[in-house]
């Protein structure tokens, strides 16, 4: 059951990731990335990270991708045109990346095949909250400062100059 859920989420997530980076229509790109991020959330749940699965859906599907859609609709940019000249460098780089990923996959299959996880604590909101309010308190507070800075920076960037 768990295995079936993992493979379903993996196949759907990979397929929609390919659509997300290859389709020419930006709205379709954003919407298929939503599907991929939901599949990643399913994977988090399978890994026992319940809090992260919820946060993934809230933060990514709820906030970031709505922001993306908003900007896509706001800019109303034309669809990307085919490149004027062929781009051998990028193609070679893409092929090299795929090869590296495949090699890594082979190494991992041979190396980590039978290794099953240690019995650890579940990533419930309570457990994560204890860590956030304990050893990681400074980083947690600093993240709020970062978000505030990003918000002010974004406002400054889009402000119309008079």
């Amino acid at each position: 059951m768990v295995t079936a859920a993992f493979y379903l989420a993996a196949v759907v997530g990979l397929a929609s990731a390919v659509v997300a980076v290859s389709h020419r229509n930006p709205v379709i790109n954003v919407l298929s990335l939503v599907v991929t991020l939901f599949c990643v959330a399913v994977n988090y749940a399978l890994l026992g990270a319940e809090f992260l699965a919820a946060a993934q859906i809230l933060v990514y599907a709820g906030a970031i991708l709505v922001l993306f859609l908003f900007v896509v609709m706001l800019l109303n940019a034309p669809e990307e045109q085919p490149a004027a000249e062929p781009r051998p460098f990028q193609r070679a780089a893409g092929l090299a990346l795929v090869t590296v990923a495949a090699l890594g996959g082979i190494v991992l299959i041979t190396g980590l095949r039978g290794s099953l996880p240690a019995e650890g604590p579940q990533g419930t909101a309570q457990a994560i909250g204890r860590l956030l309010a304990g050893p990681y308190l400074f980083a947690f507070e600093f993240i709020s400062l970062l978000l505030l800075t990003a918000m002010v920076g974004a406002l400054m960037l889009v402000k119309r100059k008079h």
Binding site: V21, L52, L108, R113, S115, P117, G120
Partner: protein, 101 residues
């Protein structure tokens, strides 16, 4: 019946490769940001998988921080795109060939 850690890591590697290929091959600024999001998610997935492998919760706290950084990165990146679009009437990164406006 649990899924081995290696399978999650392979999925993360494939997602990362797809995202990196998107960043390298696309020219629309929005698609490049989407590729970056995909790569960040792949890294997060690998972190959670390795964290479970070692029975540690710290990895999930790091993923939480990465999510917050990704959110601020997207906000600033999209604001930059809006500013570029106002100036250029285009978000094609091939047409960004000036250093000052």
């Amino acid at each position: 019946m649990t899924v081995p850690t290696g399978h999650f890591v392979i999925l993360a590697a494939l997602l990362f490769a797809v995202g990196a290929a998107g960043v390298l091959l696309r020219r629309s600024g929005i698609s490049i940001l989407l590729g970056i999001e995909l790569m960040l998610n792949a890294a997060n997935l690998a972190l959670v998988a390795f964290g479970r492998q070692h029975g540690q919760l710290d990895a999930q706290v790091f993923v939480f921080f990465v999510m917050a950084v990704a959110a601020s990165e997207v906000a600033v990146g999209l604001a930059l795109l809006v500013a570029i679009f106002r100036k250029n009437q285009s978000i094609d990164v091939d047409r960004l060939n000036v250093l000052r406006w």
